[in-house]
């Protein structure tokens, strides 16, 4: 028996496709998420909008919270480690967390290097804004990708930019001649072998979810329409007036993302969504998407 193989790690993400992964900060929220049909939960100490509001250094969650969430639900539990923080990642792995997010939502521990994710038995998801970043993360061993978007803003514009960019670059790559790929690798800052594989298969070798700014059922459906394999919802759900109803609506809109009448029904009387932030109002140094190298 072989554990921690690429197939097992990437396959785990394949099973999440078409689903919604929800940020939760305690067992009660985790149960609401599971009941609403979430495919997994992300156990956090604070959701991104609160991290943004609190300022200071954001770290791995208190293991007690992660443990509490793991005991509360039977769906997979994910948790975030700081970029490059080998020990936070190893601690979460040792606790038996099902998936780690090497996340720019937390304050990076290393401003030069990411984790060598291929060395871990636990699979990783990482954020990306373009194909270069996506391919570097895959090269390091990420088994799942997500758009970075701009977390905690309730503004979908950055996630849209990122998924369109990645998909446009994949399409371009697929139509390139073989003798053009090395230069493309140089230009993108991407590992050559990963690009060759993407060209051969016609798509990314791992699933790519939407994240960072999904605030409404229509936002979730939009990201699916643009080619996301599934959706992460962070601050949106438990910052809304009726989290259970809101969570269900996001799940259904993700499943039936082209059923517009249904999405209209789902979107009725959901209460006030989280108040959005316009990206230009966030100082460049405060934009989480700039973190990662």
């Amino acid at each position: 028996m072989n554990t921690g193989t690429d197939r097992v790690k990437r396959g785990m993400a394949e099973m999440q496709k078409g689903g919604v992964i929800m940020d939760v900060v305690n067992a009660e929220q985790a149960k609401i998420a599971e009941e609403a049909g979430a495919v997994a939960v992300m156990a956090l100490e604070r959701v991104p909008s609160d991290i943004r509001a609190a300022g200071g250094v954001a770290r791995m969650a208190d293991p007690r919270i992660v443990e509490e969430v793991m005991n509360a639900v039977t769906i997979p539990v994910m948790a975030k480690a700081r970029i490059g923080h080998i020990v936070e990642a190893r601690v979460l792995e040792a606790m038996g967390v099902d998936y780690l997010d090497e996340s720019e939502v937390l304050t990076p521990a290393d401003e030069e290097y990411h984790l060598l994710k291929s060395e871990y038995t636990v699979p990783f998801v990482c954020g990306c804004r373009d194909l270069g970043e996506a391919a570097r993360r895959i090269g390091e061993g990420a088994s799942m990708l997500r758009t970075k978007g701009e977390p905690g803003t309730g503004n979908i514009v950055e996630a849209v930019r990122h998924i369109r960019k990645v998909n446009a670059q994949v399409r371009k790559l697929v139509h390139m001649n073989d003798d053009e790929i090395m230069t493309e690798a140089k230009l993108l800052g991407a590992p050559y072998e990963v690009l060759l594989q993407i060209k051969k298969e016609g798509r990314l070798p791992v699933v790519n979810f939407a994240a960072g700014g999904v605030a409404t059922p229509a936002d979730a459906a939009l990201m699916m329409e643009l080619g996301a394999d599934g959706v992460f919802v962070g601050s949106g759900i438990f910052k809304s007036d009726n989290p259970a109803k809101f969570a269900r609506a996001i799940v259904e809109a993700t499943t039936h993302y082209q059923d517009y009448k249904l999405i209209a029904e789902l979107s009725k009387e959901l209460g006030e969504p989280m108040k959005g932030l316009e990206i230009s109002k966030i100082a460049p140094e405060s934009r989480m998407q700039e973190r990662g190298w």
């Binding site: 193989t5 197939r7 099973m15 496709k17 495919v39 038996g96 099902d98 699979p123 039936h256």
Partner: protein, 197 residues
Amino acid sequence: MTKIGVLGLQGAVREHVRSIVENGAEAVVVKWPEQLDDLDGLILPGGESTTMRRLIDRYGFMEPLRQFGESGRPMFGTCAGLILLASDIVGYDEPHLGLMNITVERNSFGRQKESFEAELSIKGVADDYNAVFIRAPHIVSAGEGTEVLAECDGRIVAARDRHYLGCSFHPELTDDHRIARYFIDMAEQAKASLANS
């Protein structure tokens, strides 16, 4: 042409579609109950069983799926799909569809870090089958008339009960499409015998 549906509410739908097409059958992604009508067989894919169950309830799939099975048309559940098919689930009072005469236990090999690949011998399919287990359930016991097709480490991981086929691993994640072939053969035989009855 034999028409095989894949329940498309959540999970590894695309991969099953690929293995159906590779075997020369027609694949249909089923998102609404009406789509079940003209299918010869149905695959319940891997994914999250609790999520699929919520969506099955919300879109009124429960009865149509049961009727599909009771009509004699074959169903194949992989991982989460196996849990949906089972007549008994350890630790739960009620099954989901409850069509296949087996008792299953969820996440019985452990959490994700214990997920694994292993070589299996599957009766009637292959002696050298590389199976991918992800937070997998296993079949604790096979009921009367249920044939055990494969075991891993002493645990039942594939079985067949009449026209119901189930496995706790993910055949859709590899390029080996022999189990899909086996299921399509089941669907073709059922189609022929249902047409004659």
